[in-house]
């Protein structure tokens, strides 16, 4: 789960990592009031789930409360990569001397969190990795004891951090590792970590991605989930317990098992169609779940036809057929549906579909060809 910068900083603050004072504002008036409280120049930062906010104009400055209000008015409502800014973080402006990068990411190969640090901070770390990989120092964390302070200092020293930053930076990196592990993060970044002109070391920006599977033991973080504006359907699907990904074609796709659904998308594309979504109903789904999945996929206005591809093991063909028939009345009239069933209960299911006047494919390819043809025929009408 993605969270906003201000939420990530809230987590960092719990672990004693220094951050600038500030709060979130939803209106220019609130931004002005916060700037007045803080006193001195402030930064107004768009809070959206996307990188590159600065370049898009989502980070602006205000020397006075009135300027802060004007800056907030410009940023609020701004569209950044398809996302409308609903809130801004108002923080005291730092007098930056140096910028560094501290990050921790779960590494699949080492099967551990890996620390990455660099003196090239404040820029996209992927870019640093691509152009000057020698500027990034990496080290896995041993989950038996976490990152120990001396290890953190060693990593920073190896990366060439100056003495002025080693001690406090080491404490911050140790705390970041603890925050990563205790919050069940997949990614935790401080970019940049700054050394200010008056010698302070602070996290000026933060990004944390949490493990969805661990949210059950972090209720306070789970409450931060909010709809991604670019994808309202995905958010609702999640609430309904459906594994759904919106794509940009017009063939709705439902199947059981992630690999099978991905392969169905590929097959539809190979047959000249464009998938509108990925939807995995999982194993052992009942008719009600099938019906819910169908009506859900049909809510996407781009969907011009739906392909249902089920390999029956624990999932029974009759249940799938019953679900499709159940959903039929609620679907737009004339919306082409092709069902492919195999395995357990496939014959019974096909007979039910035939009686209900529904189309079925003998295998995945046949079904994909049929739905693509049916949609093309409709478009010609």
């Amino acid at each position: 789960m993605k969270i906003h910068e201000y939420q990530a900083k809230e987590i960092l603050a719990r672990y004693g990592i220094p951050i600038q004072p500030g709060r979130v504002a939803y209106t220019p008036e609130e931004a002005e009031a916060i700037a007045r409280e803080l006193g001195g120049p402030v930064v107004i930062k768009a809070q959206v789930y996307v990188g590159g906010r600065g370049k898009a104009g989502g980070i602006q400055f205000g020397n006075t409360p009135a300027e802060a209000r004007a800056a907030a008015a410009r940023v609020l409502g701004m569209n950044i990569k398809g996302l409308v800014v609903q809130k801004v973080l108002v923080v005291s402006k730092l007098e930056i001397q140096e910028e560094y990068y501290l990050g921790i990411v779960l590494d699949r190969k080492t099967q551990a969190p890996v620390v990455m640090v660099s003196t090239a901070g404040g820029v996209d770390i992927e870019e640093v990795a691509a152009t000057t990989p020698e500027k990034i120092i990496k080290q896995p964390i041993d989950l038996r004891w976490g990152l120990r302070p001396f290890e953190a200092r060693n990593i920073l020293a190896r990366a060439g951090f100056p003495s002025a930053v080693i001690a406090r930076g080491g404490t911050i990196l140790t705390a970041l590792a603890q925050a990563f592990i205790e919050s069940d993060a997949n990614l935790a970044e401080i970019n940049p970590l700054v050394l200010t002109r008056d010698g302070q070391v602070q996290a000026a920006d933060a990004k944390i991605v949490l493990d969805d599977n661990a949210l059950y033991r972090h209720r306070d973080y789970a409450a931060w989930e909010e709809p991604e504006e670019a994808n309202p359907l995905e958010f609702e699907a999640h609430k309904e317990g459906l594994t759904y990904v919106k794509l940009n074609g017009n063939v709705g796709i439902i199947g059981n098992g992630a690999g099978l659904v991905m392969t169905t998308l590929d097959m539809v594309a190979a047959c000249g169609g464009k998938p509108a979504n990925f939807l995995d109903i999982g194993g052992g789904a009942r008719a009600e779940v099938m019906a819910k999945a169908l009506t859900f996929v049909a809510r996407d206005p781009d969907v011009k036809g739906i392909l249902v591809n089920i390999f029956g093991g624990i999932t029974r063909g009759e249940e799938v057929a019953r679900g499709v028939i159940m959903a039929q009345q609620q679907l737009p009239a004339g919306l082409p549906i092709v069902v492919r069933l195999s395995g357990t209960g496939a014959e019974e299911g096909r007979a039910m579909l035939k009686d209900a006047g529904l189309d079925w494919g003998k295998d995945m390819r046949d079904a994909a060809q049929k739905i693509v043809a049916a949609i093309q025929a409709k478009e010609k009408e």
Partner: protein, 291 residues
């Protein structure tokens, strides 16, 4: 012969008294698997599926001399169940459970390695040696014994392809679902090594998907193998940055793309099927060349 699962395998089921655990224990017994006991803390002394239930894996192992475990424990306790099995000296651990927090799996792996055990999964359908039995949830009736080893990150896609192989008259030695999570107990390379040594296996089908670099690692290893490998990669049309059902099926930046995996495998001389329907012919060709 076969790999991992044979006549000597004696299985316990952790979470045997749950709905999934009891249903699939019955199916495993029907398939001829030697399931010898179940474990559910607090239900020791009871019986389930006609088998004795123990409170701990250690007790179950002492009483039955089990050497494998199949885990159906819910996500919050599944990593602990893996560590319990490894600590009790169980050498083959199959974890079916999906949605385990990834750091829990990573911690469990430290214990698995320490005890020299093999973990398959989590978030996997288990494994099947046709004619000898299965550990997990694969539909046993689609398999038939034969010369082809099968390794996949996906469950239902495995069934789909195995059904095509069986239909084409191509039997299987052992089929393994390694799981769809970012951190898994054993990888393509681990099982390719076993298949390379297995006298029954003449060729291997590797079924990968987007995310991570296990397929690329497999391609490197295949260069050193004598036996032919045929591959299929799903997710060619998946967009970057989106998790496609499996927690591990995600393209991050430029890593984990289907195109990159196909290219790596082809560079290792592996024929990569465009669609699953091409797999049986590629396998037949590989077996013919081998003979």
């Amino acid at each position: 012969m076969s790999i991992l699962l044979d006549e000597q395998t004696r299985v316990i089921v952790q979470g045997i008294t749950g709905r999934e655990g009891s249903y699939h224990t019955t199916r495993m017994l029907e398939a001829g698997t030697k399931v010898v006991a179940g474990v559910t803390p607090g239900k020791g002394g009871q019986s389930a599926c006609g088998l004795p239930v123990f409170d701990t894996v250690a007790e179950a192992k002492a009483a039955t001399d089990a050497n494998a475990s199949c885990i159906f424990v819910p996500p919050a306790g599944a990593a602990d169940a893996i560590m319990e099995a490894a600590s009790a000296g169980i050498k083959l651990i199959v974890c079916i459970t999906e949605f385990i927090p990834v750091l829990d799996t990573a911690r469990a792996m430290l214990v698995v390695r320490e005890h020299g055990a093999t973990l398959i999964g989590p978030n996997c359908p288990g494994l099947c040696t046709p004619g000898k039995g299965k550990i997990g949830i694969m539909p046993y009736q689609i398999f038939t014994p034969g010369p082809v080893g099968f390794i996949s990150r996906s469950g239902t896609l495995t069934y789909e392809i195995v059904a095509l192989l069986t239909e084409a008259g191509i039997g299987q030695s052992t089929c393994i679902g390694i799981g769809g999570d970012p951190v898994i107990g054993s990888t393509f390379v681990d099982h390719l090594k076993l298949f390379e040594q297995d006298p029954q296996t003449q060729a291997v089908v590797l079924c990968g998907e987007i995310g991570g670099s296990d397929e690329e690692d497999a391609a490197e290893f295949i260069k050193t193998m004598r036996k032919p490998v045929v591959a299929f990669i799903s997710g060619r049309t998946a967009p970057p940055g989106k998790r496609m059902g499996h927690a591990g099926a995600i393209i991050s930046g430029n890593t984990g793309t289907a195109q990159g995996k196909v290219a790596a495998l082809q560079a290792a001389g592996v024929p990569v099927a465009d669609t699953i329907f091409d797999i049986p012919d590629l396998v037949k060709a590989a077996l013919a060349k081998k003979a």
